[in-house]
Symmetry: C2
Subunit: 396 residues, 2 copies
Amino acid sequence: MDNHELTPKSEIDARIRNLQKALNEASIDGAVITQFVDLFYFTGTSQSGHLFVPAHGSPVLLIRKSYTRALKESSIENIVEMKSMKEVPAAAYAAGKMAKLGFELDVIPYNTYKFYAKLFGESEITDISPIIKNIRAIKSPYEIGMMKKSAAVLDAAFSEVPAMIKTGMKEIELASRFEATLRSRGYGGGARMRAFNQDFFYGNVNTGASGSVPTYFDGPVGGPGLSPANNPGGAGWKEIGKDEVVYIDYTCVISGYTTDCARIFATGKLTDRLIEAHRISLEIQNETTSMMKPGINCMDVYDKSVEIAKKYGLENNYMGIGPDRVKFLGHGVGLELDEFPIFAKGLELELKPGMTFAMEPKFVFEEGAIGTENTFVMTETGPEALTLSTEDITYI
Amino acid sequence: MDNHELTPKSEIDARIRNLQKALNEASIDGAVITQFVDLFYFTGTSQSGHLFVPAHGSPVLLIRKSYTRALKESSIENIVEMKSMKEVPAAAYAAGKMAKLGFELDVIPYNTYKFYAKLFGESEITDISPIIKNIRAIKSPYEIGMMKKSAAVLDAAFSEVPAMIKTGMKEIELASRFEATLRSRGYGGGARMRAFNQDFFYGNVNTGASGSVPTYFDGPVGGPGLSPANNPGGAGWKEIGKDEVVYIDYTCVISGYTTDCARIFATGKLTDRLIEAHRISLEIQNETTSMMKPGINCMDVYDKSVEIAKKYGLENNYMGIGPDRVKFLGHGVGLELDEFPIFAKGLELELKPGMTFAMEPKFVFEEGAIGTENTFVMTETGPEALTLSTEDITYI
């Protein structure tokens, strides 16, 4: 497999049109896009630079490095080799009066903002990150095809897990083998998170009690990780014992598109409550996906899941344990791991066709973490799963 | 190996003292630290939260998630479980008048800054990122010990490369095996870059002409990567051929501490100019490290390296090829990959004992990338290499 497939011009054109429509509706005269992910989305290349999109007219892509590569990858017609940052406002102001200019103020650091504010002194700078997030939340059929390729790699990797697990091996050894499987099939670098300080690396292998170790990350399952320093979560140094749950929750990033999936393995017998909690996870998945119709409020889906956990007396183990529980059930995935929609407590968001998201009903007990996670695409009639490997507990 | 070693209290105390001294010198009344890396540096835990450090008095660590884990990992005496962000200004203002409060404005996104500015309405918010970077640039003997552990893992991984390389295998297969070796020995998540939009994943395996493919990254060698989307650099889908240079440049992150090293392998014969350029890389390394005494200006070190490349008529192939060359020779490494010092064109910076940095004289030709890279610690008398595997070209 070679993923150097270029984003079709028709895709790029449609995305730019969507952005221009939203700029017009918000009375913003133009947008300056610079974050790698947004740049890739709107141009087809992640080469370093700035994309200027006027509310009316043609975009200009100004590339710092590498110009020759951007020329090959992007279907934007006007691509310029940029020597100085001053060329960006020059390009913008050549397109007309830019009283209001949009920037990605959710990710641009304050010091960088100050630099831009001076550079674009003729304009009021405004935040267009909600506009961008809303556009990107609705995936085109082309993008859904890319998501399916990403999910297929996860499915293939999970099918190899039974041959990888041996009791006595360290969690990190299993993780490194699982990651190598993903990587050699095209995992193209870290799953990106847009939110500040929400760092993430590949995913989690947690066995037995490791699954109950809490961490900083806004997810239901933590794990000890390899040190207290960076990414202190996921696989640690613990040896995999007999009669333990092996919880594997990983992302896959193929050609930029992220999918997310969790599966459960067991080295012998599991406790009754783990087995029952796994069944309840599948029940929650079934009940919540059944209620998903276009237009439904995402917070109602989360509330439904809590209601089921409560019915079984498991609310204190649902989505984490004790004080370290998180208050969501699912999150949008695409070019980033934390896209719209979010299925969370008190967050009103309308579910729309074309949205892709991971649903992850999980439970955590002293003896381990268990549950399920799948990536779905929302269709006109309901959600369709993209991750397709067996959800039964696989006993090794 | 288990890297869940906790940062000693004496280290944390000294770091906080250094910060308080700098705050006092700059007439700043207190600091609010929130970025994961800085938080780990000043507290010993990366759990999500805020550290308030008054210019005089004791720090308060307010933890959002996970409080129980932060209690185990950090030697800060006053650790508080935080339920609301309002508790951070409350803790700060309880310590006295905070006319001027320092934040990490190089990394905090603009929207987050606006939130803080409102929350800390009684204070003028000021940037303390230069203060933090300067403190972190000087490593303690404890930190140098951590860097040595990180370098030893890289050395061990490079020693296994000859057994991994087979002609006909894809670059990404070799990369996935090399990464699995690092990972199973404790590579704890992505090497972090502080600069906005400077994303990075593990490192590069480039074979033959792949080494001449340019990319967005501010490094001498690019590579095709796996797709035009995220991290479009490093190993790609190309098969490793006969008589090709195999350029391997990787980071290692152990307990948060990053080292960086490049080594050269060959599947048969290399062109004369590649072999000669490799020799010149070692000459540049030797000449530039010989001139490094405490107090030297880092830009003079860079200029010396360019002078040597020019002497051999290779200035157009030094640190990249043609328009995609970069204008630096080395960069600080530690908890992040882009620390002080920087050895770059026109950048005045004083080299000091305790600094740790990677020096990477490299050349790029149509038939491939070649050179060397090592991580050093600056001592009172000169630089000492931490990465120690053979720098000869290893012929497979």
